[in-house]
């Protein structure tokens, strides 16, 4: 591998240090990375659009800023991929939906927001390189990235498999070395599940920890923005940049932001780690279970104390989530009507027809299914039986965590019941797809922070390559530092450490 190519394989912290000290030009990083994206993205489908000229211009501006003697930010010259559900000023943003394109076909003809999402502005101000907008399930509705209106993203460990979703493109970009970090959004597992399935680190912060201004809303009582990175320290660094109160988002928390990177390396001896039996029940793939149990033994070896805990309402999380999330989505997605931006149905005779035809043409199958379900459960006559009941069960799920966190500091579970499944395997059965999120939904409903960190991948056999497995760590509200401390300690001894997919183009991802 050439010296230049190996530059891209440095960790996020190393790369930012090199650029900040002027030992490496951001422009070199940008051009090397853009070339790698050009070579690999067609096979992987990670990016919907790549901002080549803008990235090179931004890189030169960062280099000039340093030449003027200014101190660079914590993400100096670090390539960060942005989920296409986040507004980027003047750059096409589609949420992987036809309804946010003019022609109903091309993401490059997508809606150009007049402003940056707050998280986008914050990584920009930290001197990151915003290389492109990543693929996703349409409006973040899905668990396999196959609901993208444009093309699916593919798992770099096995191109016949899904990377998970909905933030699939962000996960693939990081796993395949097409960015050092990425931003995603997690409503029911959309950061953690793709992180697990691609062998990356993904964090869903506490509800309200990160501003959602400029995130295209799916389910407002659940949506949260968070980072992906190839190591725990990188994810911690990004979260510190994006977290904190934002005057543009009334639901963003004013609580002080910890130095999450300082938590990496902190001693975890004596930490009480809860293991809920409900997460190791029927439906969990035996290979995933073996890997997660081995990780739990590893954590015990670090001096943590494992304790059984109960989260008795876990089995109701999928039903609760699909009522609450679809109800909120049916309301949030009412704004896409063909008038102010994006697609507009032709020759509609009246306003009602314009709305109904534009939406029928512009939304994909899963989005329509969820809008319909959400509209149904909010109907007078059904509201109490479905929506109100689901909100009450949400209280029970929340209390499960409150009770458990009286006994333990962190809860550890699998992220996904299986490894990456094959493309097409679950597309005809919405319920089977929804069950993929069974372990990530409860933390979303409770609003607590959670993270996925790689544990031992499965062994290759019968033509199936080795596939990543994620360990899910969950903490009480605003205790992200605890997650980073434990995940970092585990990462140092994890069998997955340093493992990268081989990409068949002569190089590994890192």
């Amino acid at each position: 591998m050439s010296e230049n190519a190996s530059l891209l394989d440095r960790s996020m912290a190393d790369l930012a240090g090199l650029v900040a000290r002027g030992e490496v030009k951001a422009e070199l990083v940008a051009s090397l990375l853009l070339d790698r994206i050009a070579a690999r993205n067609a096979a992987l489908g990670a990016y919907l659009t790549v901002q080549r000229d803008e990235t090179l211009a931004a890189a030169r501006a960062i280099d000039e800023k340093r030449a003027r003697g200014e101190t660079l930010g914590p993400l100096a010259g670090v390539p960060i991929a942005i989920k296409d559900a986040l507004a980027t000023r003047d750059v096409p943003t589609t949420a992987a939906s036809r309804i946010l394109t003019r022609d109903g076909a091309d993401p490059a003809h997508g809606f150009r927001p007049p402003y940056d999402a707050t998280v986008v502005a914050r990584v920009r101000n930290a001197d990151a390189l915003l290389v492109g907008k990543t693929n996703m399930d349409e409006f973040a509705m899905g668990s396999s990235n196959e609901n993208s209106a444009f093309f699916p993203a593919k798992n770099p460990w096995d191109l016949t498999r899904t990377p998970g979703g909905s933030s699939g493109g962000s996960a693939v970009a990081v796993a395949a070395g097409l960015a050092h970090g990425a931003l995603g959004s997690d409503t029911g597992g959309s950061i953690r599940q793709p992180a697990a399935l691609t062998g990356t680190v993904g964090v869903k912060p506490t509800y309200g920890r990160v501003s959602r201004f400029g995130l295209f809303a799916f389910a407002s009582s659940l949506d949260q923005v968070g980072p992906f990175a190839s190591d725990v320290r990188g994810a911690a660094r990004i979260l510190r940049v994006i977290a904190g109160r934002d005057p543009h988002d009334a639901t963003s928390l004013a609580a002080p932001v910890d130095d999450y990177e300082a938590a990496c390396g902190r001693d975890v001896k004596g930490l009480r780690v809860g293991v809920p039996e409900e997460y190791f029940a029927k439906g969990l793939d035996p290979e995933v279970e073996a890997s997660v149990r081995a990780a739990l033994r590893g954590i015990e070896g670090l001096g943590c104390e494992l304790r059984p805990v109960r989260l008795p309402h876990t089995r109701y999380a999928v039903a609760t989530y699909y009522i609450i999330a679809t109800a909120e989505a049916s309301s949030n997605l009412a704004r896409y009507d063909g008038v102010r931006y994006g697609l507009r149905a032709k020759d509609a005779p009246d306003l009602g027809a314009l709305y109904a035809r534009t939406r029928a043409q512009g939304f994909g199958r899963e989005v329509k299914r969820r809008i319909m379900l959400g509209t149904y459960v909010l109907c007078a006559g059904y509201y109490d039986a479905y929506y109100l009941r689901a909100q009450r069960v949400r209280t029970l799920i929340r209390r499960d965590f409150e009770e458990a966190f009286k006994e333990v500091d962190v809860i550890a579970t699998p992220v996904s019941p299986t490894t990456a499944f094959r493309l097409g395997e679950r597309t005809e059965d919405p319920l089977a797809m929804y069950l993929a999120d069974i372990y990530t939904l409860p933390a979303s409903l409770a609003g607590v922070p959670a993270l996925s960190v790689p544990c031992a991948p499965t062994a290759p056999r019968d033509g199936t390559p080795s596939l990543p497995v994620g360990l899910h760590l969950v903490a009480p509200p605003l205790e992200e530092s605890r997650l980073f401390a434990l995940a970092h300690a585990w990462e140092q001894i994890s069998p997955a450490r340093g493992l990268r997919p081989s990409l068949g183009d002569g190089g590994s991802a890192r």
Binding site: Y322, R359, A385, R389, Q391, R392, V393, L396
Partner: protein
Amino acid sequence: MPSDPPAARPIDEAEVRSIARLAHLDLPDDEIQRLTTDLASILAYVRQLEELDVSGVAPTSSVLLERLPLRPDAPHESLPHELALREAPRVSEDGFEVPAFVDEG
């Protein structure tokens, strides 16, 4: 909407059509049929929540830790007119163009 208990009566095509009208979705017959099947199976699944006794349990509508702050009620700059219209599929006389919706007859 009918007031039968939801478990008593499965969803049918007529009801799916009326939901589609409420949701502003102009769906062809084959999509209505497919959605009727999909919604029936999803609703059958989510009805497992009926197993739980939730009497006396307060609903959770938000898990926010802090009270929502109010911003100062002060005038501030809004989006420039030109920028607000930039992405509109059709504009007319400096506004968004829509088909007539007031019956002037």
